[in-house]
């Protein structure tokens, strides 16, 4: 048992690193003053967010009419962005929970930053339904079930309400899971802190973690439980998001394939975003010995696999539209691919299905520049997937007299851009303030100083 396990064990950390090197390398960006490059990125992110926030504030004053929304296209870029960002988040939970349950040890290198990405992506996603109400300060008033003077309850039979529960639960559980994972590493940072204020902050955050085995035994069980809870949760979240569409009667939305199709797409886009971010992070923070090419290659394989799942879903939708014999359904799909939004459809199909096929070729899977470019294409393609689903289905529904074109205004684009600023503000702060690698987990998969095998399965 022991020997076969050692045989199969990949080299997860390269460069002959020891435990203490890991601490030094991970803590380095936390303990030095941010570089010029970081400031440039951070200030850009703040400005981009400020631009979006300004437009949003103006939109609240004027009303949602400043957006491209019309009759019948009542959902536009805000819903597209919501689904896009929630989807991005799914990769983090997949890496932290599902790969943990499958004992994929390579996840230790990427899980911390992927989980951080999850949390920030869900925070970004949550902005959109709120501002889409037009009066976000009323959102809690409308969305949560509590006894109120109107003597009304929320509609528990509505997928939109399920979404409120699904996404807020997802955010809460992801944040808890992330924080629990951080505790031992925050203690590491605490123990090497020189500055009293830094020491105090990390002391408070790590809550007095000592690394005692009487704590570890509960901790490991808790970690397993969180992984077990997050796994069905992550699958449920994008399923519920897809119900927002699938439960309606609209051709193009009213399909039973939506839940698995959305989940596959979410993992696909999320992994692409992880690759985009990590190719930069490992370069800038000199973590190449921990986030190795082997790790990235594995992620690229997942991107290719989920990309083909998504491609299968695209094909299946067309087949069923034809096979069902439903006239409106057939029209919706012909209109999707060859109607006025053909360019959006083919951008989606090429970016998501054709381009990732390059990953069949091993050198491409192991080439940073190629994978970075492909991950950007996938991000773009997946944004357009949601655009295609939302807009092409809505803009030509049953009665031709009701048809209209949806043209986003610069409010739509500006606020969309602003959401990227919001996401990157948090991600950049994360890189400077919290350990970007799960040190205590990586140590478990590193060879022991005595030369034996790693100790955590």
């Amino acid at each position: 048992m022991e020997s076969t396990e050692r045989f199969h064990q990949d080299v997860l950390v390269t460069g002959g690193k020891q435990y203490s090197d890991l601490n030094d390398d991970v803590a380095k960006p936390l303990e030095s003053f941010p570089t010029k490059k970081w400031w440039v990125c951070f200030i850009t992110a703040v400005l981009v967010f400020a631009f979006g926030a300004m437009l949003a504030a103006n939109m609240f004053m004027q009303g949602l009419g400043v957006l491209g929304l019309n009759q019948p296209t009542g959902w536009g870029t805000f819903i597209v962005n919501f689904v896009f960002w929630v989807g991005i988040g799914h990769a983090g939970t997949l890496i932290s929970a599902i790969l943990f349950l499958f004992r994929q040890k390579w996840r230790t290198a990427i899980n911390r930053s992927a989980e951080a990405m999850t949390i920030f992506a869900v925070m970004t996603a949550l902005l959109f339904p709120l501002i889409h109400t037009g009066r976000p300060w009323y959102a809690a008033f409308w969305l949560l079930p509590y006894p109120n003077q109107r003597e009304l309850w929320v509609n528990f039979r509505s997928p939109l309400l399920w979404d409120v529960f699904a996404v807020s639960t997802y955010f809460t559980i992801s944040a808890i899971f992330w924080y629990v994972g951080l505790i031992p590493d925050l203690a590491s940072i605490r123990d090497r802190a020189k500055h009293p204020i830094r020491k105090l902050i990390y002391t408070l955050l790590s809550m007095g973690w000592t690394g005692s085995n009487k704590n570890w035994r509960h901790y490991e069980v808790a970690y397993l439980l969180f992984a077990g809870l997050s796994t069905p949760l992550v699958l449920s979240v994008h399923s519920v998001v897809s119900f927002d569409f699938a439960v309606s009667n609209l051709p193009g939305w009213h399909t039973t394939i939506f839940p698995p199709y959305f989940v596959a797409g979410a993992i696909f886009s999320g992994f692409a975003m992880v690759v985009t971010l990590l190719t930069i992070v490992r370069e800038v923070f000199e973590l190449k010995n921990y986030i190795t090419i082997d790790h990235l290659e594995k992620m690229n394989k997942i991107i290719m696999a989920t990309g083909m799942l998504v491609g299968y879903a695209y094909a299946c939708e067309f087949f069923i539209a034809w096979y069902s014999g439903a006239e409106f359904e057939r029209f919706a799909f012909i209109n999707r691919a060859f109607g006025p939004y053909w360019w959006a459809y083919w951008t989606m199909a090429i970016c998501n299905v054709i381009i990732p096929q390059i990953f069949w070729w091993r050198p491409a899977r192991r080439n940073i520049a190629i994978m970075f470019v492909i991950s950007l294409f996938v991000n773009i393609g997946m944004w357009f997937e949601r655009y295609v689903i939302t807009v092409t289905s809505l803009h030509r529904d049953f009665i031709p007299g009701n048809w209209n074109m949806y043209i986003p205004t610069w409010y739509d684009w500006g606020i969309t851009l602003g959401s990227f600023g919001w996401f990157f503000i948090f991600f950049l702060l994360f890189c400077r303030l919290l350990p970007a690698l799960a040190m205590s987990e990586i140590k478990g998969v590193m060879p022991s100083p005595k030369g034996g095998a790693a100790h955590v399965e």
């Binding site: 639960t169 085995n213 035994r217 439980l225 449920s236 005595k450 100790h455 955590v456």
Partner: protein, 187 residues
């Protein structure tokens, strides 16, 4: 270590690698002291067995919280949809339970997760302001075993804590550095 309150907590011995620590822990357990623990940068497999610890009771807390969550979610939806304000939608049943499943599922997970966190903190006695870090190297690359001076002898069949004897014992197990630990809080 602080100079004013010198209350002995125990004796700690440091090791350089997990294998030696694990072997040493087996001997510490055999020696049958009242209270002892290991301190490591990451969880070491087999340490629970070596220390004779049972499985953590945490899953029971999670299970109870999950049951509470699912019950509460159903009760809330049933009461609002059937009792407090029934709305007749096309003659469909008020108790349309399949539509309640997503919220029931989400609240199961939400309650389980929150109470798993609280249970973890409770079982680990965190936040733990009464114990300062024994040594900063423990969260980096060193492994320690500490034999505690019991505050109150609960089990008289255990081997009594004798400082010099414990120090020697840890040294005989291969500890590189053996020190006394005094009680000291965060502040």
């Amino acid at each position: 270590m602080s100079s004013n309150a010198q209350i002995l907590e125990g004796v700690v011995g440091f090791f350089d690698d997990p294998e030696t620590t694990l072997e040493a822990m087996k001997k510490v357990t055999e020696a049958n002291y009242e209270s002892y623990d290991s301190y490591t940068p990451y969880p070491i497999h087999g340490m629970d067995d070596a220390m004779g610890l049972k499985r953590s009771p945490l899953p029971w807390i999670t299970l109870a919280a999950g049951i509470a969550g699912v019950s509460l979610a159903f009760a809330l939806q049933y009461w609002t949809s059937v009792v407090d304000w029934p709305v007749n939608v096309g003659g469909k049943p008020f108790n349309s339970w399949p539509a309640f499943v997503p919220v029931m599922f989400e609240l199961t997970i939400l309650f389980s997760g929150i109470f798993t966190l609280l249970g973890l903190l409770g079982l680990c006695r965190l936040p733990n302001t009464g114990r300062k870090v024994i040594d900063p190297s423990i969260t980096r690359d060193r492994f320690a075993i500490m034999i505690d001076l019991p505050k109150k002898v609960r089990n008289s069949s255990c081997k009594p804590f004798e400082e010099s004897e414990v120090t020697q014992f840890l040294q005989s197990l291969g500890a590189k550095d053996v020190r006394k630990v005094y009680e000291e809080g965060w502040f």
